[in-house]
C-alpha cells in the first residue's frame, strides 16, 4: 500500500534523534490518534537550518513523512522551510494512501511548530507563520497501573 520511497524512508529514516539546546523544538499530534511528531531545528545566525532531527510515534507513513520533511528543510533558510508544505512532502514520497494524508499535514505542522519556537525564543517574526495548534498538552490518563 506504500510507495517505495515511503518504505525507504520508513525503513531507513533520516535524521532520527534529538538536538541538545536546539534553536527550536516543535511537537504536534496526539497520542490518542496514534501520531506524535517532534522536530528539533538547529538554526545559525544567518537563519539557515544547519541541522534537523526528529522523533515520531506513529505508523509507517508518519515516520516516513517526518523523515522526508527533515530532509526537505535541511540546509534551507527559514523562509525556504516555510515552503515545505504537506503537498511537497507527499510529492517527494511519491504519494500517500488517502487515509495517511493527515500524516503529511502533521509533518508540516511539526516544522511550523519548531519554527514558531525558534521565532519566540529569538523574538522575531517569520512571515506567514501562524501559532501552531498543539493538542498534545491535554492531560493523558494515568497508564502506569496497567503495566
Amino acid at each position: 500500500m506504500y510507495s517505495e520511497k515511503v518504505m525507504d524512508h520508513f525503513s531507513n529514516p533520516r535524521n532520527v534523534g534529538e538536538i541538545e539546546n536546539a534553536s527550536g523544538v516543535g511537537t504536534v499530534g496526539n497520542a490518542k490518534c496514534g501520531d506524535i511528531m517532534r522536530i528539533y531545528l538547529d538554526i545559525d545566525e544567518q537563519g539557515i537550518i544547519r541541522d534537523v532531527k526528529f522523533k515520531t510515534f506513529g505508523c509507517g507513513a508518519a515516520v516516513a513523512t517526518s523523515s522526508m520533511a527533515t530532509e526537505l528543510v535541511k540546509g534551507k533558510t527559514v523562509q525556504e522551510a516555510m515552503l515545505v508544505t504537506n503537498k511537497a512532502v507527499m510529492e517527494a514520497l511519491d504519494g500517500l494512501p488517502p487515509v495517511k494524508v493527515h500524516c503529511s499535514l502533521l509533518a508540516e505542522e511539526a516544522i511550523h511548530a519548531a519554527l514558531w519556537d525558534y521565532a519566540e525564543k529569538n523574538n522575531i517574526v517569520i512571515e506567514g507563520l501562524q501559532k501552531p495548534v498543539n493538542d498534545i498538552e491535554e492531560k493523558e490518563e494515568d497508564i502506569s497501573e496497567i503495566y
Binding site: 497520542a31 496514534g34 506513529g58 505508523c59 515516520v63 487515509v99 493527515h102 493523558e140 496497567i146 503495566y147
Partner: protein, 392 residues
C-alpha cells in the same frame, strides 16, 4: 524465513481438504438440487458434511444451514430473528467486544427501530453475567455474545450465558467463528439457540460458513430464491466449499485435544518470553481462559502498524488493533472496551498460532520483536519523555 502468525485472520487450507474438494469441481459438478442421478454424489457429499459439522457441536444435521461465511451467518442471526420476533419485542443484548459483523448489524437494526444494549466487559474482556441478567427486559428477543474474542482471545462463559437466556426465555446466539474447531462447543449443554461458524478459520476454504439454528426457533429466510437449506437460504450449494468445510471439521475434531495441548504450551511460552524480556509490555485478555492459539500484547510508547511492517520485513506475519490497520483513526474497539487508553491501544500486536507453529519460529519472532520494539522506542517522543521524567 516465513512465519505465519495470523491464523485468526485466516488459515492455510490443508492439502487433504483441497483433495477432498477437487472432485466436486471437476467430476461431481452436478447441482445437488437436480433430480438426475448424476447430482446424487454432490447431494450425498453435502449431507455428509452437514452431519460431520452437526456432530462437532452436538447438534442435529437438520439444524445446520450452510452460508457464505461467518459474517453472513451473523447478519442472518440478527436480522432474521429481529424480524421474526418483532411481535414479542424489539430489544437485543450484545457486548461491546463483538465482531463488526455483529456490531454493525446491530447499528443497522437500531436505525430500523430496534433497541440494543451493548454490555461492558471486565478488564480481561469477559462479559459480566450479573449485568447481562439485569439488562434482560420483557421485550428482549435475543442475546448475541461471541464464544471467544477474535482479537484478545478471551473465552466467554457461554454455558452460563445460555443458562441465563434460557431462564428468561430469550434466544441466545453466539458468534463462534474464532472458537469453532478450536475449543469444545456443545450447543445442548451450553443452551445455544444459534451459532455462526466459518470454514477458513479451521484450515478450510474461504466463503464457506454455517449457521446452527435450534429446531423450533422461528427464523425468516435470509436469501430468497430457492428451496435450498429448507428454503431459508436460497442459492445453489457451494458444494466444494461445503465438502471442504466438512473435511476441515473432521480433521479439527480428530486433532482437537492434542492441538489444544500443543498450542497452549507454545502460547504460554510466547507470553512468558515477551512479558519477561520486553519492558513496558502487557498481555491483553485473560491469562488462562483464552483461545489456545491467541496472544495479544501492547507495547507502550510505540505504534502497531510500524511494528507490523518491520516484522513483515523479517518474514513474520502478524496483525494489530492499531488505527492504522483499520483505515480509521480509532484503535480497536475491543482494546478500548477492556479499558486501555487510546495511546496504549495503538501499540497492540496479535500473534495467532497454529498446530504447525514451532518453538524455533517463536524464538526467532521474540528475538526480532525485541529489536523492533527497541528501535521504534528509540525514535518515539513518548519514550523520550518518559525517560526524562524518570531522570528528573
Amino acid at each position: 524465513m516465513k512465519i505465519y502468525l495470523d491464523n485468526a485472520a485466516t488459515t492455510q487450507v490443508y492439502p487433504e481438504v483441497v483433495e477432498a474438494m477437487t472432485p466436486y469441481y471437476t467430476e461431481y459438478y452436478g447441482n445437488p438440487s437436480s433430480i438426475y442421478s448424476f447430482a446424487g454424489e454432490a447431494n450425498k457429499a453435502v449431507s455428509h458434511a452437514r452431519e460431520v459439522l452437526a456432530n462437532m457441536i452436538h447438534a442435529k444435521a437438520e439444524e445446520i444451514y450452510f452460508t457464505g461465511g461467518g459474517s453472513e451467518s451473523d447478519n442472518w442471526a440478527l436480522k432474521a430473528t429481529a424480524e421474526a420476533y418483532a411481535d414479542k419485542g424489539k430489544h437485543i443484548i450484545t457486548s461491546k467486544i463483538e465482531h463488526h459483523a455483529i456490531l454493525h448489524t446491530c447499528e443497522y437494526l437500531e436505525k430500523k427501530g430496534y433497541e440494543v444494549t451493548y454490555l461492558d466487559v471486565d478488564e480481561y474482556g469477559t462479559v459480566k453475567l450479573d449485568e447481562l441478567e439485569k439488562a434482560i427486559r420483557p421485550d428482549t428477543i435475543l442475546i448475541s455474545i461471541m464464544t471467544a474474542n477474535n482479537e484478545i482471545g478471551t473465552i466467554q462463559p457461554v454455558a452460563e450465558i445460555g443458562k441465563i437466556a434460557g431462564k428468561h426465555g430469550v434466544l441466545f446466539h453466539t458468534d463462534a467463528v474464532q472458537a469453532f474447531g478450536h475449543i469444545e462447543i456443545d450447543v445442548d449443554k451450553m443452551n445455544i439457540d444459534m451459532l455462526s461458524a466459518s470454514a477458513h478459520k479451521i484450515n478450510g476454504p474461504k466463503g464457506s460458513g454455517l449457521m446452527y439454528i435450534r429446531k423450533g426457533v422461528r427464523i425468516r429466510s435470509f436469501i430468497h430464491g430457492g428451496a435450498q437449506e429448507r428454503a431459508r437460504r436460497a442459492g445453489t450449494h457451494n458444494v466444494p466449499g461445503i465438502v471442504g468445510f466438512g473435511k476441515a471439521a473432521e480433521l479439527a475434531k480428530a486433532t482437537l485435544k492434542e492441538r489444544i495441548a500443543y498450542e497452549t504450551v507454545l502460547r504460554d511460552y510466547l507470553i512468558n518470553r515477551v512479558l519477561e524480556e520486553i519492558p513496558f509490555s502487557r498481555l491483553n485478555g485473560e491469562r488462562v481462559n483464552r483461545l489456545p492459539n491467541n496472544v495479544n500484547f501492547c507495547f507502550q510508547y510505540i505504534e502497531g502498524e510500524s511494528m507490523l511492517i518491520l516484522l513483515d520485513q523479517r518474514g513474520i506475519y502478524a496483525s494489530s488493533g492499531s488505527a492504522c490497520t483499520s483505515g480509521s483513526l480509532e484503535p480497536s474497539h475491543v482494546l478500548l472496551a477492556i479499558g486501555l487508553p487510546h495511546e496504549i491501544a495503538h501499540g497492540s500486536l496479535r500473534l495467532t498460532l497454529s498446530e504447525k507453529t514451532t518453538k524455533e519460529e517463536l524464538d526467532y519472532t521474540v528475538d526480532e520483536l525485541k529489536k523492533i520494539v527497541e528501535r521504534l522506542r528509540s525514535m518515539s517522543p513518548l519514550y523520550e519523555d518518559s525517560l526524562k521524567e524518570k531522570r528528573s
